[in-house]
Symmetry: none
Subunit: 218 residues, 4 copies
DNA sequence: GATGAATGAGACTTCATTCAT
DNA sequence: TATGAATGAAGTCTCATTCAT
């Protein structure tokens, strides 16, 4: 009556996850349409048929894969604030740093972005979920920070509602740059991050007498 | 001995362009792999075979399409400088405006970006050309502007070399946003543009006594 | 983990052979280029896709087919010598008889010849193999027989090295005749065989006093 | 009213012939089915459409090509007899020599043979014509020679009716050999011809006392 | 007569999906 | 549950043939 010993049972329980991981690699490599289920199967160490035990269609597999690899991307975001007790500008730097490590540096985050751009049109549900679960929280965090900074008198009071997107934009730009150029990206990411923080806080204009403040956060 | 003339000659001359346009629509709609040559043919008002009169393979068609639709995107960029005789900040605003209208608002520009993200891995040559013909000039223009501004004392002198990318980033972010969300984009683009210029010039930090200057360019 | 068994296993084991047989019929009927894989599939009682489970391309299918149908054509040739204990001329007759039944009478042998003539230019590897595995052994057998006959004083000592090919030639000629004329071949094959043996042994010239010897082997 | 000057008129008159020559090369190279009309056109220095001015279909072109290249292959055969006033064996040698030079050595003759083997099944009319215009006359010539030789007492009287084909067979064998192996043919054709004549006249059997006669014709 | 753009049927090949085992 | 042989629809590409010029 019992067919599975411990090992088998564990294998069985892990199968879907292994397939989803394999699917991530395969779809990230060639895109949805150009990826063959056989590629996914080969990467997962199973055969084509096995995929259909867990996923009804290629589309469902893709959707589940995106969901599973999106989940948890922002999981420890709250800790960022808890850890940074400093001024608003310090918190912003910490938050952007968090985004860099989870969107730019983390391959998962980057490829999810690619999926949205490349396949989003045919997976609107996925786009909606991504916006709800990922973009909105991100914007919310930055928005909260900006409002806190304004309230604290650290940030200018005349920031318009879209400022929050503009603040995040360079992060996404860098992610896209890596997506496009891979390892051959021509960007000095350390300097880029510094420039991002610098520009967000101080802008381009020369402001005599305030140089010191700007420098202190370079 | 005599080449065809009149009607036939005109058709012959126009066909490739018509096919290229149809290919743009089709590939933009479904991506490279999922697009059927028959779709392209139908859109162009020809039959499958006709495409092969002008393009050897689906790949070549795609490449030629991207090239033809990339060409000229930055054609009138120089005029931007000629037209704006004001201060560096005015010139920057004008340049960003130009980018918005050619990358964000112009569907061609946006979809080229999608092609780079979605298909770039399999068309490295195209990515290289895009970087050379499109990204590099763009960065060059902004870089020149920044240097001019620094020299004129309008911009801070401590800008690092990556600042130029950070300045442009929000433009690309907005383009990507439209690519992902289509007409359902949740961004107020007018406000976004204003926030972009505002942040680029003034940054987030409150700077008592300089409010007036910032406002004058809102 | 368990391979399919029983019915499925047997089908799996037989499929390639069935396809190869169908391919032989189809290619023999129309030639390589004019044969559609769908014809092969229909003859084999499978669908087009199934062929690709076992053979990567039409070319590979053709090559494998020729190999499988060439194999064993000369398998029982050695028995010919064992069985004929008589004089050299009797052995020659027996050997030629063997060739007639395997090259002329056996459809497989004939069509292989057609493949060499019709498709050999595009399958040089196949031609090389055919020469090595089929022609060379055939020539070797006849050559051995001739040498034996010369040594025994039955055959003339001044035979040149190409004689061996000349001896076999009428066999191939008859095969070709059937290939070209099919069932409408105008040749009386019984008489042709007799004439072949007769000419090979006695030649055309009238040799008074030796008539008896010649007749005894007609 | 007159459109063509001398040159043009001559060109026009030569067109069909040039196309037929090009067709011969193309079809000989790749076979009927695999040859593209465009290949033929390119070789002929015209365009596809031009072929259809002179030939209704690919099939008709092939047929006309075979006819035009078969014609005249045996044109000067009669001269062979006129020129050889010697004994029957000398005449046979001369006739075989003629066949070697027109079937084996002449590329036209060889490739016609290939067409018969490779495409004959789908051009039965062509096979019939080839048999009537080429094979039958050949056989007739040899037959006449054999009968003359028998009558003159030079050849054995008991030759059966198929002997004539056996006598010719080695010629065709050699042609086929060249078709299959091209320039890499492993046959020493000089020796082969000698062996052919030798065997046809003297056969394999040792005939003490007649060696001299045999040698005199080697 | 000559051209070559255009056609469209049809070829080879791929691959998501099914299902007997 | 897992397999992988089998399917067949659909894709890319070819090419004989047509026809306006």
């Amino acid at each position: 009556m019992f067919k599975c010993d411990g090992f088998r049972r564990r294998r069985k329980a892990e199968r879907p996850g292994e397939i989803l991981d394999a699917a991530f690699e395969a779809f990230a490599d060639r895109g949805f349409a150009a990826t063959r289920l056989e590629d996914v199967a080969a990467r997962a160490g199973v055969t084509k048929g096995t995929i259909y035990v867990y996923f009804a269609t290629k589309e469902k597999l893709f959707e589940e894969m995106v969901r599973s690899h999106s989940a948890g991307l922002l999981a420890d975001a709250d800790a960022v604030f808890a850890g940074s007790e400093g001024a608003s500008e310090d918190k912003l730097r910490a938050l952007l740093q968090f985004f860099y490590s989870h969107i730019v540096a983390d391959r998962r985050g980057r490829e999810i972005l690619r999926f949205m751009v490349a396949e989003g049109k045919h997976f609107p549900q996925l786009v909606a979920e991504h916006y709800r679960d990922f973009v909105t929280p991100m914007l919310g965090m930055v928005q909260a920070l900006l409002e806190e900074g304004v309230k604290a008198g650290r940030f200018r009071a005349d920031l318009n509602p879209e400022t929050v997107r503009v603040v995040i934009a360079p992060t996404v730009f860098l992610a896209m740059n890596r997506l496009i150029h891979g390892d051959a990206s021509p960007v000095d990411e350390q300097a880029y991050f510094a420039a991002h923080v610098e520009l967000a806080l101080n802008g381009l204009l020369a402001k005599p007498g305030l140089e010191a403040a700007a420098q202190s956060h370079g």
